[in-house]
């Protein structure tokens, strides 16, 4: 019988040479007369082990981490998998890094061939949409409401309320829009899901369509993710060929079409109204709300706009029932969240856990310390608009409410670690510079305020009139926070203020160390 060998085909694995490893294994198998079937799976999210090669055995899939092309011949001895190899991890699922997670949304990631619908179905796929097809629209929405599912894109708005608004709208045309413009540094969960399990997203969109009476969906996917675009387009084509999409969903349902649209390098298009403008072919300029997109969204029609992970989670809510999903998590942060360990961390990757574990416990259990070997000093959670947390706040539970209680935000679950060589004044300046670079220009506090913010922080860094500039920066942050039209200008003060509160010394201590 042929032995299946799994070599991930996602961006992270390929960035570390997975394609060369796959080629080397194919050549080796042929030369040694081994009957190997190479499967290009998605990534399980253990970026620190990529390329992670797995060989199927009777005991399960045995993994080898960080495999180099020139060492593939050592993975086998006499045609058998080499369990004595120093890179051998044993069976991957029993490895502590994986075993300690609670994978729901990402349970198939890295396990299946991403583009095989048969694999998807065999591993629980389509159960959600099959059940949804037996329910009324109101019942589907009720299940989502019961689950407590909140938008995973960062704003954490209850999905049930959004879906219900669109369901009740009387327009004949409605849309489902998937926000796959994952622009936050430190986040890669959307990319990983699309590259590892794309049908889950399509299934979630179909469920949303059934729930609100929409027949057309768009995925707005960022251009910085070329491989995700390729995989998703192929998945859409195969879903049409298999009758999952098209005139009758699974042969029995109403029509549902999905189109993949590619962004063009504008961070602001992750903001939902700017994204809609961009989908309509315009500059990605933020719209004033109200009206909410649920009332007047794409082309002026009622629109459900949700993040990749929200729509993906909807498949499990429907498959298992809303109550079972709601049983996980902490308070109003129900279910699981994929946390993404990134930056200066040894064991970076995607860790899916129920909400509520402390940041420190996740770092301790999964992170493995800094990559540089130096002490960690600051951790930015929630992307470029999230706060930098000093060590005494690392006990904060990873949940929406507990993070906002300490002046931070969970956002899309990105956790970016910095060691003690970081200059926090430089990071504060970058936060303002990033806002200036990415501002859509519609509102003054964001457009002008961010540029002024860069200048004020530069003066602070040069130790010019520190007290006056400090006060100016405080007032500027307040103006941006309360005067901006959307989260870009409104939240840029968050990282800046966190540096002022927790790392003031980096902005104020005189150069040379003498008091002033």
């Amino acid at each position: 019988m042929s032995t299946r060998v799994f070599i991930p085909n996602d961006t992270a694995a390929r960035s570390m040479g997975a394609d060369d490893v796959a080629h080397a294994i194919a050549v080796y198998g042929e030369r040694m007369g081994l009957d190997l079937t190479i499967v290009r799976n998605g990534s399980r999210g253990a970026a620190w082990l990529e390329p992670l090669v797995e060989v199927e055995t009777t005991a399960g899939r045995v993994g080898f981490g960080n495999v180099m092309p020139n060492e593939v011949d050592t993975l086998f001895v006499h045609g058998q998998v080499n369990l004595a190899h120093d890179r051998c991890l044993g069976t991957v699922e029993s490895h502590p890094w994986f075993a300690a997670q609670q994978r729901i949304t990402f349970r198939r990631a890295g396990v299946i061939d991403p583009l095989s619908l048969a694999d998807y179905e065999q591993h629980g796929g389509l159960a959600g949409v099959r059940r949804a097809l037996t329910l009324s629209a109101a019942e589907i929405v009720a299940d989502i409401t019961t689950s407590g599912l909140r938008g995973r894109g960062g704003a954490a708005f209850p999905a049930g309320i959004k879906w219900n608004t669109v369901r009740q709208a009387t327009d004949t045309t409605k849309y489902i829009v998937c926000n796959a413009d994952e622009g936050d540094s430190g986040t890669f969960a959307d990319r990983l899901l699309i590259e590892a399990d794309p049908y889950q997203l399509l299934e979630g969109m179909i469920i949303a369509g059934l729930a609100v009476g929409a027949e057309r969906g768009y995925v707005y996917l960022r251009s910085e993710y070329p491989w995700a675009i390729t995989v998703l387009r192929e998945a859409v084509a195969r879903a049409y060929a298999a009758g999952l999409l098209g005139t009758h969903v699974l042969g029995i349902g109403p029509r549902f079409d999905v189109e993949v649209r590619v962004g063009a390098g504008a961070y602001i298009c992750g903001e939902e109204t700017a994204l809609l403008e961009s989908l309509e072919g315009k500059r990605g300029v933020v719209r004033a709300k109200p009206p909410l997109p649920a009332m007047r969204g794409l082309f002026g029609r009622p629109t459900v706009i949700n993040n990749v992970l929200t729509l993906a989670a909807a498949t499990d809510v429907l498959a298992a029932g809303g109550a079972r999903y709601a049983a996980l998590g902490l308070d109003r942060s129900t279910g699981t969240m994929p946390f993404q360990l990134a930056g200066n961390i040894r064991c970076g990757g995607l860790v899916e856990l129920p909400f509520g574990r402390s940041l420190r416990s996740v770092l301790d259990e999964f992170g493995g310390g800094s990559l540089s070997g130096r002490p960690l000093r600051a951790i930015q959670v929630g992307g470029p608009l999230g706060a930098y947390l000093p060590e005494h706040l690392w006990e904060t539970p990873l949940a929406y409410e507990s993070f906002s209680a300490v002046g931070a935000m969970l956002g899309h679950g990105g956790i970016v670690c910095f060691d003690d060589t970081v200059d926090m004044a430089e990071q504060a300046e970058f936060a303002m510079a990033f806002c200036a670079h990415e501002s859509c220009g519609k509102c003054t506090p964001c457009r002008i305020g961010s540029t002024r913010g860069v200048e004020v922080i530069q003066r602070l860094r040069r130790r010019e009139e520190s007290r006056r500039q400090w006060q100016l920066l405080e007032e500027l942050c307040e103006t941006m926070e309360f005067g901006s039209l959307c989260a870009l200008g409104g939240l840029t003060p968050l990282p800046v203020r966190s540096v002022m509160t927790h790392f003031a010394g980096d902005l104020l201590t005189p150069v040379g160390g003498t008091g002033q």
Partner: protein, 165 residues
């Protein structure tokens, strides 16, 4: 904005081909501009004029869109575009030092092309490879854990590829 030229015969044939299967709706502007950029390397004033006519938009509308998005270029750049991820996760593992090395190695600052037209160096904000930074992208390939010496190796490998083709 001065009056842009009409596309010449070759460019017109190419633009006609790129637009052939797109419906003439304004929301198809971005998909069309992507095709133009991919095929021709930039969106010329003539192409913008063509798009305005095809989608029934003003030239100002099209110009506004082209200049709003980081992906679209109004003029040609160096053949091999090298994107360096300069976002926080990559900053935490040496993206700033890598950028300084890349600028020195290619002899141009971020956002510009080399004098011989072989390379274009630019910053990008997040390639989604945040656990394996610093990351760079060359064409559609992302590379992780790029040290200055690995950067040099990747450039040399591409040089070899070019000399073969």
């Amino acid at each position: 904005m001065s009056h842009p030229p009409m596309p010449d015969a070759d460019e017109l044939a190419c633009l006609d081909e790129l637009i052939a299967d797109l419906p003439p709706q304004a929301d198809q502007l971005l998909p069309f501009l992507h095709r133009v950029q991919e095929r021709l390397g930039h969106v010329s004033p003539a192409a913008m004029r063509f798009a305005a006519h095809a989608f029934n938009l003003s030239r100002a509308d099209v110009y506004g869109v082209v200049t709003f998005y980081g992906d679209f270029r109004e003029a040609p750049v160096g053949d091999t575009v090298v994107q360096l991820c300069m976002a926080e996760a990559c900053q935490a593992v040496g993206a700033r030092a890598l950028a300084a090395h890349a600028e020195q190695r290619l002899g141009v600052p971020l956002g510009s092309s080399t004098a011989d037209g072989t390379h274009h160096l630019e910053a990008v904000y997040c390639l989604g490879n945040c656990a394996l930074g610093p990351s760079i992208r060359v064409k559609d390939a992302v590379h992780g854990r790029v040290s200055p010496s690995r950067f040099d190796t990747l450039l040399e490998l591409r040089a070899i590829d070019r000399s073969r083709s």
